[in-house]
Amino acid sequence: MSAPLLSVRDLTVQFRTDAGWLTAVEQVGFELGAQETLGIVGESGSGKSVTALSILGLHAASTTRIPTGAIAYAGQDLLKLPDRAMRRIRGGEIAMIFQDPMSSLNPVLTVADQISETLMLHQGLDRKTARNRAIGLLDMVRIADAAHRVDAYPHQLSGGMRQRVMIAIAIACRPKLLIADEPTTALDVTIQAQILDLLRELQTELGMSVILISHDLGVIAEFARRVLVMYAGRVVEAAPSRALFRQPMHPYTSGLLAAIPPLNHDVTRLSTIPGSIPDPGRRIPGCRFSPRCTEAQTECREQAPDLVSVGDDHFARCPPRLHRMRPV
């Protein structure tokens, strides 16, 4: 593989709270090549959205600090980029769509206004040209009657259509990277599939790289070639999605996989991972998943495991499983 489009190294993000600085993301790293798709999966609070927002520098500066890490994009470190240069990247080179299309669009501006703004800002188009391009973009995201819908306000559109508008805004300047943060979570199932199909088609059409964030491993598996599994702010496993499904090397990944309901036979009970993600303010000695892990041993509770190579391009943070696979 040639030089990656985006390379995140050793990223740690902390937020200021009343109880001091709280670590939301710790030493996360990954690489993403041109036109590749990376899936990031994990429960709420695992740090996947925080990681994504850090790439675009969208955290509030006054309450956030990034003590370590580098985000290399096109030969520059996004974390060190001055504000003006960063604004050119946002929406121009790297675009993002969010979870809730109901609240992510500005209620007092028309669809035309909101799409045109990106075009006028990054490509210097005048209002009229931008508006025509906006209509073209609505066509591209398969909104029927685009010439008419372009003058609608968000509240006049359905949830699925709003997410399509968000996608239209995101792809307006043909970004090299699209970050989709739970793009289908707030939508109902049939719409989910449509939006994912649309994203896949647009990715091929525009040659974008995509980072897809989801708590749903099923969605990720369908979409991404490589998967990053995050738990409590850390990457616990990273692997090509085939390998991850065939042989998960972390009990948390196994738990997520088991939680996908099978479609080919009936189940009376859905599988769950007992317990919930720890409060980020609480320090857990050893492996952070150990309190919920059925395979945890004494060493897991005492020493925090490292992310180590467990196979071809496959990394995991679980010594017991590694030992079982390759007895010392």
Binding site: L58, A95, M96, D100, S103, P107, I169
Partner: protein, 316 residues
């Protein structure tokens, strides 16, 4: 079309409001102890003279009867005649109203931009000295009694420095500068409280909006910080602020009663205070009703602005 229907509906709703105010104004006055006939006749007059005046004024009839007579006249556009000054209520109002409206509008013109700018700035620079300074000023504005700060202001700007007149009104027909010069001090004192109120309101509205997902979307599009506030946040901030604007205009009108006393401005406020003291029933009732009309008009106006600011109302 929708907008027009909405306005007609609101206009229709105003009719019962005005009627209720008319009836309330009538009863409030008649609940007060005191007798206008005794005021007119003077302290020396005998019981018989007072009784004669009372009969002349129609005050000897039963209360429901008086109410019906008054409402009947109102329906014909007759606000009655002052029983103290022997002057038509409408003429007196027409005489005084420009003063109060001038005072209110100048105060309003100060309140809206200053209050909004201070509030938005405080939100933008949340938890900095700008925020602290604005909130301190707002607190002072809201908590210090208007008449007291007005007197202090007169001592400083009119007596010590001699920059502004201490009292009196100059009609607009005498030129815009003399008019404004006479009004600027009372209007500023009147606006002080509302500026504090509006600044707090605009600050919290802006903070609310800045937390919304669509603001994050704007930033993710590469929109600059200031443009985010000016274009994406401000229109949304205006929605609650416009509601407050109607209330502010009404409160300014009400507050002018006190300020007109301090600066000896011959406005509606002074008119109504004098009318109450002399138990001038038709004058008080007429003035209250005129103010009610104004409040209804203000609210109607706010409604129109609303449909412009918030598209959800326009199509809702």
């Amino acid at each position: 079309m929708r907008v027009l229907r909405r306005l007609l509906l609101r206009l229709g709703q105003a009719v019962p409001v005005i009627l209720v105010v008319a009836v309330l104004a009538f009863f409030l006055m008649h609940l007060l102890p005191g007798d206008p006939a005794a005021v007119i006749a003077g302290p020396e007059a005998g019981a018989e003279a007072v009784e004669r005046i009372r009969r002349q004024l129609g005050l000897d009839r039963s209360i429901p009867e008086q109410l019906m007579v008054w409402l009947w006249h109102l329906a014909q556009g007759d606000f009655g005649t002052s029983i103290i000054h022997n002057q038509s209520v409408l003429v007196a109002l027409a005489d005084r109203m420009p003063v109060t409206v001038s005072l209110t509008l100048v105060a309003f013109a100060m309140t809206i931009p200053i209050g909004i700018v201070l509030g938005v700035a405080a939100a933008k620079f949340r938890n900095t000295w700008v925020d602290a300074a604005v909130m301190f000023l707002a607190l002072v504005g809201v908590s210090v009694p208007g008449f007291w700060i007005a007197i202090l202001s007169v001592i400083l700007f009119s007596v010590t420095l001699g920059w502004l007149p201490a009292s009196g009104y100059v009609p607009l027909s005498d030129g815009i500068w003399p008019w404004l010069r006479a009004l600027i001090q009372p209007a500023a004192m009147l606006a002080l409280f509302q500026i504090g109120f509006l600044a707090r309101m605009a600050r919290s509205a802006t903070l609310d909006v800045l937390d919304q997902d669509y603001i994050r979307t704007a930033r993710a599009k590469g929109v600059s910080e200031w443009r985010t506030i000016a274009k994406h946040a401000f229109r949304n901030t205006l929605i609650p602020v416009v509601t407050a604007t109607g209330i502010i205009l009404s409160l300014l009108m009400g507050g002018s009663v006190v300020i007109e006393q301090v600066f000896a401005l011959p406005g509606v406020g002074r008119l109504i205070v004098q009318a109450i003291l002399t138990r001038d029933y038709p004058m008080v009732q007429g003035t209250l009703l005129a103010l009610a009309f104004l409040f209804v008009a203000i609210n109607l106006f706010v409604d129109i602005i609303y449909t412009w600011v918030d598209p959800r109302v326009r199509y809702g």
